[in-house]
Amino acid sequence: MTGRARTIHLTVVALLATMAVGSLLMIVAGASPLHAWGQLLQKTLGERQGFGQVLFRATPLVFTGLAVAVPLRAGLFNIGGEGQLTAAALACAVVAAALPPGLPAPLAVLIATAVAFLAGAAVGAATGAMRIYRGAHEVIVAIGLNAIIAGVALWLGNRSLFVGESTRTATIPAAAQLPELGLAGSNASVSALGALAVAALMAWLLARTRVGFTWRMTGQGLDAARAAGLPVDRARVWAMTVAGGMAGLAGAHFVLGHKHAYEDGLGRGVGFLGIAVALLAQGEALAIIGAALVFGVLGQGGLAIASDVPKEMVDVLQAVVVLVAAASLGRRRA
């Protein structure tokens, strides 16, 4: 199959499997699938406010989707989005809150975003280095780092960063807050536009630059790439570094665009959901936008019908998508 045919094939199979399993879970929960799917779509695509919430949910998924897609092209699996996001969000909130008053808004946002990117990138780089230079499996390392970062963030928060008895850091100054898009009172902010720009940038990086070429060659055949004299090891560590930065931007989205502080549990699950997004998009940077919207609809719609079907249905559907993608991915690599 050609690349495009394979993408269409995967998308169709994934959507059919999602609909089948979702309908089954609805029936088991005692809901009518026709009614429940209808409600799910109506409350997300049929209303301005609901659609705004879909955009709000899809925005960080573009970032965490890219955080999985980039290393995937280079033959590495980044399951550390959760930890990268948490480290970045905490660093971003603390630095933004400490910015001198009177700083112009664009500069404040730029600094806070850069801090988030760098904090996430540092975690990603550590994961990549453990894999490349110490031979430790990147999945186990990343899961360990996820747990360690969550624990350390909670400890730092309880010790000194959380305000009073809350589990929330100080509110960041207005200059660092991203304005909302104004979609019928939804939480969608201009970070949605940032996500589009970053996805386009990554698509360009992968397709048109030397480092993108090295990543793709490395992912398609490690030994061949090494034999061709490409700096394989360094490129793979860089892939994980950039990936961490992408997950870090998801943290910035939550802090600057929504909560205006770091909170315990902020963005939980979004790093993992990025795996499903990236795999549904077959690792293509621009397709990630579409895949993120699909999961935005499922997540927001799942909340809308939560009184009929437990909202964890969406977690199961996410796994179904990843399973379908795993079968397709294996055949491609083989």
């Binding site: 879970l25 088991v28 929960a29 005692g30 699996f77 399951i79 453990m130 110490r134 031979g135 430790a136 499996h137 999945v139 186990i140 390392v141 899961i143 360990g144 780092l145 747990a147 360690i148 624990g151 350390v152 909670l154 400890w155 309880n158 010790r159 993992f272 795996i275 499903a276 795999l279 437990p310 964890e312 249905m313 969406v314 977690d315 199961v316 559907l317 996410q318 796994a319 179904v320 990843v322 399973l323 993608a325 795993a326 079968a327 991915l329 294996g330 055949r331 690599r333 083989a334």
Partner: protein, 292 residues
């Protein structure tokens, strides 16, 4: 501080280490089997979680501990069956398959609790096996399984075949043995063992709590790797992780050392440091991750 140290040299502490280590040990045994057969076992987390869930739900619904433990094994087999179907039959990417199963088990357990009991955080409480170690049937099952896997893998024909399909599947096929069938057997048996390990996460505490596996499946896989894919050593590494876990519980109750948020991380830190510095003299099974 002296109270804390004294509490570490008691029989009660030893029992606690064993109780905590059992899920790690059984997951690592299961993981060793499927990885030896050439199938990357990143689904250990799902097997533990589904085992814990099935043991609690079936134990509560039937009132029988035996049914609960059998259900845990069956749940592990169910996860392993999907894993084998994907890895062996469909030639799917084994890392991604394992992660999908872990995500799915996480969602499914909460979904089912919500549908059946009206809330997704935990199952109704019932009389489990208690926190005693010697009175807990899973302790004895675990001890037997360690011996069985060690002997089975090194001394039996099936064990030889499992090791062979992980190293040289082409040679096994040339000898007229079905590679797929041996891999299916290894993955399913491994799934049953890991599932029973999950029962230890719910039966001693009289119920299932969402996310009960808490990353133990990944730590167990780290133990498998550090052991050089040898079940006896993997079990010993798991005892070390159980020890780290038990020490951190004692540190918390005695208020010793680091704050609770940090001591909780001890097993993860240990696993990461060991993965980074432990010299690896043993290569992984040569066909690990290769569909055929």
């Amino acid at each position: 501080m002296t109270g804390f140290v004294a509490s570490l040299i008691t029989l009660g502490f030893l029992a606690q280490v064993l109780r905590i280590a059992i899920p790690y040990v059984l997951a690592a045994l299961g993981g060793t089997l499927s990885e030896r057969a050439g199938v990357i076992d990143l689904a250990l987390e799902a097997k533990l979680l589904m085992g814990a869930f099935a043991a609690a739900v079936l134990g509560y619904e039937t009132g029988s501990i035996a049914v609960g433990i059998a259900g845990a094994a069956a749940a592990g087999v169910a996860v392993a069956a999907i894993q084998a179907l994907w890895s062996v039959r469909l030639g799917a990417d084994q890392v991604v398959t394992g992660i999908a199963l872990n995500l799915g088990a996480f969602g499914f357990t909460r979904y089912f609790l919500g549908v059946r009991y009206g809330q997704g955080a935990n199952s109704p409480r019932f009389d489990g096996v208690g926190t005693g170690v010697l009175t807990n049937p899973i302790t004895w099952i675990a001890a037997a399984l360690v011996a069985l896997v060690v002997v089975g893998l090194w001394q039996t024909r099936l064990g030889l075949r499992v090791r062979a399909v992980g190293e040289r599947p082409d040679a096994v096929a040339a000898a007229g043995v079905s590679v797929a069938r041996v891999r299916w057997a290894a993955v399913l048996i491994g799934g049953a063992i890991a599932g029973v390990g999950g029962a230890q996460l719910s039966l001693p505490v009289d119920g299932f709590v969402a996310e009960a596996s808490g990353g133990r499946g990944y730590v167990a896989l780290a133990a498998v790797i550090m052991s050089g894919w040898r079940p006896g050593r993997a079990a010993l590494w798991c005892l070390a992780f159980g020890l780290a876990d038990a020490v951190q519980y004692r540190m918390q109750t005695h208020g010793v050392g680091l704050p609770a948020e940090l001591t909780r991380l001890l097993p993860y830190v240990l696993a990461l440091v060991l993965l980074a510095v432990w010299p690896r003299r043993v290569a992984p099974p040569r066909a690990l991750g290769q569909p055929d």
